[in-house]
Amino acid sequence: MSGRVLVGVKRVIDYAVKIRVKPDNSGVVTDGVKHSMNPFCEIAVEEAVKLKEKKLIKEVVAVSCGPQQSQETIRTALAMGADRGIHVEVAGKDYETLGPLQVSKIMAALAKKEEAQLVILGKQAIDDDCNQTGQMTAALLDWPQGTFASEVSLDGDKVKVVREIDGGLETIKISTPAVLTADLRLNTPRYATLPNIMKAKKKKIANVKPADLGVDLTSRLEVLRVDEPPQRQAGVKVETVEDLVGKLKETGRI
């Protein structure tokens, strides 16, 4: 086995930022807004780096699809311990319509090209909440998948994955090569401190175009409209129980 792990990292609007919808309802304001690595992608990178530190795999390659700024996200992954990066250049209109289908085609092509043993992704991105890329990538590669992983252990050419599911936890054993998606409790991602970022500047980031991988980026989806969620109504205070009953009857609740 090549001992190479591919980790997909996505540049998203920072989780702490208050999202604002554009006045024309075509999307969300991204200009001048703080961006960072998707939290679930951080967990994916951490897991890959941990596997390398345990000497279970040999190389961690961080991949990101997007415009020039995606390179910052790759740099963060390199600062966390990835060995090298691959920036798949997607900009302009193509980037606006870039979704799980296109990214999974890219990841599948790269996984074959790099002869990856594992592809680790975050379970979903906090901007689109699709939760599809990992699953689609596995399907395109015809590889087994361990999604919502809260525990991963390598055992020869097999992987034991404990998955977080609605009913509790499910443990599965799948053979490699495989695709894993990271859930919140998989690990505690390390912080990319300034000294690590400086050291990571020496690591290489390769530049690739989707066409080089033979991937067609046409989207089958069209965003019609983006709206804010309904504003939370302010609560109303009442003085007595009679008032409460009256108000409830008023609003048709009882």
Binding site: Y15, A16, P39, F40, I126, L184, T188, P189, Y191, T193, L194, P195, I197
Partner: protein, 85 residues
Amino acid sequence: MANPLRGEVIKLYKNLLYLGREYPKGSAYFRDRLKSAFMKNKDVTDPEQIKKLVARGDFVIKELEALYFLRKYRAMKKRYYEPEK
């Protein structure tokens, strides 16, 4: 400042400044407090004392990393997971 430790102190300041960018109350707030904290000790010359202060700074770095992680973890847990009964 004791010469050999000058580099360490400056490195610590830069690391803290970098971490401060994500501070919940804003990076400007953090930077002001960081600067005054360092300025308060600018006349310390005893190497032992300086080493102690640098160690305290390293501790603050660990605390900030823990703060940032917990904040993010709690936000993700609240947004994506059912509250435990």
